[in-house]
Symmetry: C2
Subunit: 152 residues, 2 copies
């Protein structure tokens, strides 16, 4: 059985797959951005699953798009971390509805927090985009005027 989904990746592979370096991965782990993968079977080498690669990419993506510090990002991801735990707990059927509700509300709060950040930035960017488009429109119009008078 060598089906896909259970390959054990080494840190160098992960780095290449995510487009970064081993150093950065260790650094993120040190900061708590990535789980400290306490599984170091026999040797001290870190091993990763493809899911971990996705997680890393997501971290890099958020860093890029939200433009926050790694510390702030850590807080934002604590949210995601919590959501993972929540999902795990919610999987089981035997959770008190009261507890379920609490967990879901908590998850919602985390998501809303991220959404707020994202929407704020998105709005600002949209505004900037509109301004640029408008300016470009004016330039184009002037070019057309010019063409009308003295065509190439």
């Amino acid at each position: 059985m060598s089906g896909p989904g259970n390959e054990a990746l080494r840190i160098g592979d992960v780095a290449k797959l995510a487009g970064t370096t081993p150093r950065t991965i260790r650094y993120y782990e040190e900061l708590g951005l990535l789980p400290q993968a306490p599984e170091r079977p026999s040797g001290g080498h870190r091993l990763y699953s493809p899911e971990e690669v996705e997680r890393l990419r997501e971290v890099m993506r958020l860093k890029e798009l939200l433009g926050v510090s790694l510390q702030e990002l850590k807080d934002l991801l604590a949210a995601e971390e919590a959501r993972a735990a929540v999902r795990a707990e919610l999987q089981r059927e035997d959770v008190h509805p009261e507890r379920r509700r609490e967990l879901l509300l908590q998850a919602q709060g985390h998501i809303d927090r991220q959404l707020e950040l994202v929407e704020h930035r998105a709005a600002e960017l949209a505004k900037l985009r509109e301004e640029l488009l408008s300016t470009r429109g004016r330039v184009r119009e002037r070019l057309r005027e010019l063409d009308a008078l003295a065509p190439a």
Copy 2:
């Protein structure tokens, strides 16, 4: 005659108006992000017009929204710089239409470059926003299910 529009601002005033520090302003000037205001009447103090404040705010805004290094930002603003010069030159009527055309095309190129950057980021952010909204939707649904079974 003390009408608005010709107040001479000092670097500290500018800093407060733009929400930053004198140090940053000097640093930006040193990097070439702000024009080196060669006008230092008698004393060596920098003087600014309200327009310069706007310029500074714009720089800060772009830095924040585009998340680029100050060097890259400088290149992007060389564009804007050029546009300012272009606008000045275009104001005059006695410019060869050929030259006008050239200037306008150049300006258009600069704008398009900025637009490309902005639209790329905006698209990425929009994608992220959609994902978050979708996730939130699922959470909400689960909450509604819960409410239906065991209302508060």
